[in-house]
């Protein structure tokens, strides 16, 4: 770094921000980041805000009667309900406010975490990976300016969200949603967002790749959610205290309004951010802390086939999702036994389940868990199916398609991995769920049932791939719209069960047509139709890709 010698020729404005320190230029970079994200930020914040306000608003029609709320509290009191929402304490007085905080806070924490992680990686590691950071750092910009600017921007986005949530909710004027609780509810989001922003400030130092950095940080978000789900639904509440999402939920907005758990978040965020700054001084610009390894001087025979090559590119992600889903399934499976024990004595729940179709408690819980596992598998499938698009825009498709490899075979390799890999990932989720579930209930027969229930979703995943291919073939600029499929499936399949959406909304999602095994009976017809639809979409997408220009840099 330059020392603070007098530099008479330096313009005053530069001298002001420079001062020879590691943070020189931070303010400029913050403004630059805000300019780059002038669409992204409002979309994120408004989507989160409107989702919350609409949910809160829907409560007043769904649960207008106190009796309805009491019933809701009873059904949410099951281990499955608690795993999906938050700690049991909210149920003691289930008014609109406590309902909102109970059902939404954990789920929103994941989304706010995702937003924060993406902000940090986008403005730090992605800049370095593309080489843009090098250009910027060669100007009067300090060593820590990029990270400081990214963190500042994350703070701004989270604060904006917190304030908008607080005033938006208080402004609804609903009974039980008061200003004090709304403030805490809003700032709870900001606190958890900052934790995950700071976590990714560390992960971006570890690896030289944006994808790896955001993947590691999102894995932390996932672990935090799983810990609180396990803690809230089971006997061992201490697990929830290991999770920043659990801390925020234990601030109990609208119930107890305690602010101190947010301080835990703040302390963790500061510690992680400090670690990020410290680690960043121990590495070179553009490099990660993990050194690059050398590899094979020649290619194996398997690599030089379209499928083998695609498999190689997808390998890391496939292993990550497979292992993650196996563990997630096992986590849910391990509480399956509790679900049965705790619920079989409650008459009302039993009656409600009888109405569904006479399935047992464990089966209904299991079919609900399937929805969650499948949505995660769908996230993998979309990422894999969009890989040809990212290869194309990165300029890596061009040299390949200038060889004897046809367009259809090139895309086909990626699609085969997306569809086959999606099925494998589902299988692993079903295995984890089945093995742990069979162990916790003592019913070995559950294993094949649960594996079958998971695999029944495979055709819906293939349709998801098909949607992505059609977009890629005909509307390449809009390929990212394929994300609508898993997001919609999540909203309808998960929130829809709580918020009671009408049936046609469910039918719009390919996942809505899959029989809800093991609670419902097997029905092959929709699965066959979904497979046909998937095949048709893939054919259509390939036809489009053969007709269009390859996009080049």
């Amino acid at each position: 770094m330059t020392t603070a010698t007098t530099a008479p020729e330096a313009p005053a404005s530069v001298g002001q921000v420079a001062g020879g320190n590691a943070l020189a230029g931070t303010r400029t970079l913050i403004r630059f980041a805000l300019r780059r994200d002038r669409i992204r930020f409002p979309v994120w914040i408004l989507a989160l805000l409107l989702g919350t306000l609409m949910t809160a608003n829907s409560f007043s029609t769904l649960y207008s009667d106190p009796q309805d709320r009491a019933n809701a509290a009873r059904s949410m009191g099951s281990p499955a309900g608690l795993a999906m929402s938050g700690p049991r304490h909210y149920l003691d007085d289930y008014a609109f406010g406590s309902m909102l905080a109970h059902q939404m806070l954990g789920f929103m924490a994941v989304l706010v975490g995702l937003m924060s992680v993406l902000i940090i990686t986008r403005h730090t590691r992605a800049e370095e990976e593309t080489g843009r950071a090098e250009l910027v750092r060669s100007t009067v910009v300090g060593r820590h300016a990029h990270l400081a600017a990214a963190l500042s921007v994350a703070v701004l986005a989270n604060l904006a969200l917190a304030l908008l949530l607080a005033f938006g909710l208080a402004g609804l004027g609903m009974e039980g949603i008061d200003t004090a609780g709304s403030l805490l509810y809003g700032f709870g989001h900001a606190a958890v967002g900052l934790v995950f922003a700071a976590v990714s400030a560390v992960t971006v130092q570890l690896t030289a790749h944006t994808r790896g950095a955001s993947g590691m940080a999102l894995a932390v978000v996932g672990v935090a959610y799983v810990l609180r789900a396990a803690g809230d639904s089971g006997e061992n509440a201490a697990l929830s205290w290991l999770s920043p999402i659990g801390w925020v939920q234990r601030s109990y907005p609208y119930v107890d309004n305690r602010w101190w758990p947010l301080l835990l978040c703040l302390a963790l965020a500061v510690a992680c951010a400090a670690a990020g700054f410290a680690l960043s001084t121990r590495r070179d610009v553009g490099a990660g802390l993990r050194p690059e390894k050398l590899g094979r001087p020649t290619a194996s025979d398997a690599l030089t086939t379209p499928l083998g090559f695609a498999l190689r590119l997808h390998r890391g992600m496939l292993i990550g999702f497979g292992a993650g889903l196996f563990l997630m399934g096992a986590m849910y499976g391990s509480i399956l036994g509790d679900a049965e024990d705790m619920l079989k004595d409650i008459d009302q729940i039993q009656e409600a389940l009888d109405r569904i179709g006479g399935a047992g408690v464990a089966e209904s819980f299991a079919s609900m868990v399937m929805v969650v596992l499948t949505v995660v598998a769908a996230v993998y499938v979309v990422m894999a199916a969009l890989r040809p698009r990212s290869e194309e825009t990165a300029g890596r498709a061009e040299p390949l398609l200038a060889t004897g490899l046809s367009r259809a075979r090139w895309v086909g390799g990626h699609l085969a991995v997306a569809m086959g890999g999606g099925t494998v990932v589902l299988l692993l989720a079903g295995l984890g769920f089945g093995i742990a579930g069979a162990a916790s209930t003592g019913d070995a027969g559950l294993l094949p049932d649960l594996v079958g229930a998971a695999l029944a979703y495979a055709p819906a995943l293939w349709v998801t791939v098909g949607v992505a291919v059609v977009l890629f073939g005909w509307f390449p600029q809009a390929s990212q719209a394929a994300w609508i499929v898993p997001v919609y499936a999540f909203v309808v399949g998960y929130l829809g069960q709580i918020l009671q959406f009408p049936g046609w909304m469910n039918n719009l999602s390919p996942f809505g047509h899959v029989p809800r095994l093991p609670a419902a009976d097997m029905d092959w017809t929709p699965l066959l139709l979904l497979s046909l639809v998937a095949a048709g979409l893939v054919w259509l997408g390939l036809a489009g890709f053969r007709r269009r220009d390859l996009e080049t840099k």
């Binding site: 050398l294 290619a299 890391g316 200038a402 004897g404 490899l405 080049t552």
Partner: protein, 330 residues
Amino acid sequence: MTKAITVSGLHKSFGRTRALDGLDLEVEPGEVHGFLGPNGSGKSTTLRVLLGLLRADAGATQVLGRDPWADAVELHRRLAYVPGDVELWPNLTGGEAIDLLARLRGGLDGKRRAELVERFDLDPTKKGRAYSKGNRQKVAIVAALASDAELLLLDEPTAGLDPLMEVVFQDVIGEAKEAGRTVLLSSHILAQVEKLADRVSIIRLGRTVQSGTLGELRHLTRTTIEAETERPAAGLGDLPGVHGLQTLDEAGGRVRFAVDGSQVDGAVRKLTEFGIRSLISHPPTLEELMLRHYGSELAANGHRAKGHGTDGQRTDGQRTDGQRTDGDLR
């Protein structure tokens, strides 16, 4: 014998941008054809149409006697391509990328691959993300040349190479030519094309402005003459075809001027009347050819377009091979 490449009246637009506007190109089998033009003139777009990666809006295109859009895959087995901006897979080594590209094209010559890796001084065990631009370029060049392609399409292939590697590249292309392969070499580096190309086509704004052998093109342009005479050479400026006459010393014994190719004889005859002490003639370089075609643009960019070829610093015609680095006109 059919031509290796024929393109006539090629049009291609991207939205409102017109990239190619009636481009013509003919490449004979077995020749090295220089494809010259400034950045953004449509060179890469043309190559991508020739590869069937882009679909032409209008015009006829044939590569090795076939339609590049309809028969792309068949054609690709017979040609090799080096993109201008080589992107590699971050987690694949350079060696793996070479094998992947070459085998997907239909096989590679292991011995030649090893020899090229050696000559280009490439470490094939490094991961794609660890390579510099020049090394990524080498990976693509080795992959292209290690196969038995009849036609090589090279899009500014030496953009990131150092001067030593550029010499290696020139040797390798020379060998490819001896082996009877056809090469289309796009570039804005004039010295390189000058050394390698049998014929050149110059394009500008998506249209071919001139095509022919270097000799033919030189005939169309001006020779620079620097002369020292015993007596001041009077009346030179009145001769037809003489441009930009400069007197280099007080006495008027040293002059420099440019003269049209067809008028060289008259100018030299005139000089002999004044007793020639020394005479240096600079053949027109491709740079001057380009300057003639892009003179207006360069003027707009603040370069001196007028009096080109008479500016002593720019036309150091006696330079030696491989030392010239001022070819980039941008």
